[in-house]
């Protein structure tokens, strides 16, 4: 089983709140650590991908409303 440094539930949250919350918490994750995110806003998928690109993180998984991000960017 994969170990997540953080597991965040943003279901019911509207854009851009999930990205704001994730950005607030990402500093708690060690380099190369994984974050699991649940988010059901229709903008969550594209915005997580764009946020990862802009911040230098890696979107490891995007499966429906479940996402996994690897912390690679500046803390």
């Amino acid at each position: 089983m994969t170990d997540f440094a953080l597991s965040l539930d943003y279901r019911g949250m509207k854009c851009p709140r999930p990205i704001i919350e994730l950005n607030r918490r990402i500093g708690e994750v060690p380099p190369d650590g994984l974050v699991e995110i649940w988010a059901d806003d229709p903008a969550a998928g594209p915005d997580l991908a764009a946020w990862c690109r802009m911040r230098g993180h890696e979107l490891v998984l995007a499966d429906g409303i479940r996402f996994v991000v690897r912390q690679l960017g500046p803390r």
């Binding site: 509207k14 704001i20 903008a43 594209p46």
Partner: protein
Amino acid sequence: MLPDAQQAWQAGQQAGWGDPLRLHRAGRLAAQALDRAREVVAGAVGARPDEVVFTASGAHSSYAAVAGLARGRRRTGSRIVTTAVDHSSVLGAAAASGDHYAVGVDRHGRVDLDQWVNALAVGGTALATIQVANHEVGTLQPYAEAIAAGEQAGVPVVLDATAALGRVDLSHSTGWSVLTGWAGAFGGPASVGLLVIRRGARWRAPYPIDDYQDHRWPGVPDVPAIWAGAVALDNWLRFGRAVGERQHQLVDRLRAGILERVPEVDVAGDPVHRVPHLLTFSALYVDGETLTSELDRAGFAVASGSACSASSEHPSHVLAAMGALTHGNVRIGLTRTTTARQVDGFLAVLPPIVAGIRERLQAR
């Protein structure tokens, strides 16, 4: 709307034009105006005047183009290829008229030509659609190459010229089967759509027709509105080059200024190969609704592709397909009278507005 087009519309309404199919004087005058309007459009896109049809909107033109070719080609198959960034009216028409397949785009929104060629080679493909330029981010598509691939594969291509008409020279464009446009995009009435159907195209009207417009679009045409649209287009064909050069520079200035002054911003679209007047960007940790309304209060009317600000619950499919940020999105369309001073004014108000929203959302 352009002042010239407004005047033409009023003059047309006062001219006493009648039903263009009737032989009385009022009808003949209307028919002449309609003929002249067809000539303007035909000249703009390298077509014959008798290939030009006026519909009721850009969305109507999209539907007529896609559903009409699907109908004419139904013996070949029901597969319809679009790009992922086509206008929603084109995507909707494709989904309603056959088995829709969308070809992906790169970071700038430019269609992947290899994927396009492969998609057209699949048997049973009735038609394909591509834009000259994207309506949200302005990126020019490789439409000439895409059309040539269509000819090679024997697949008729719908060319959506909505964002490009008057701004990109299409007077020598060839190879497309149906071309679409909308007068509202070039300073004409929103109630006039353009539909140019090549003679010989396998297009069949996908709705009941009558004698008007050579059995291609039903109902008495609104000649004063059409006339105003033709005047607007004619205006662009005459003066568009100079306006376009100025707008291109102003958008360069906007783009550079936004990147310099607003941290964590994603500017979308091709910086060089684009229509002159459009710029789209997204600011992280900002909601599009607040951003557009605060810009409006500061005197700047802008659009947004963010889900939280648009009429839809879903974010812009164009931004999503490009991998661009969809929240905090702003779409700027310059008018022909936009000045460098206005651009600088925008660049002055934007950074504190974005910073203020981020602070209120506690995004730091």
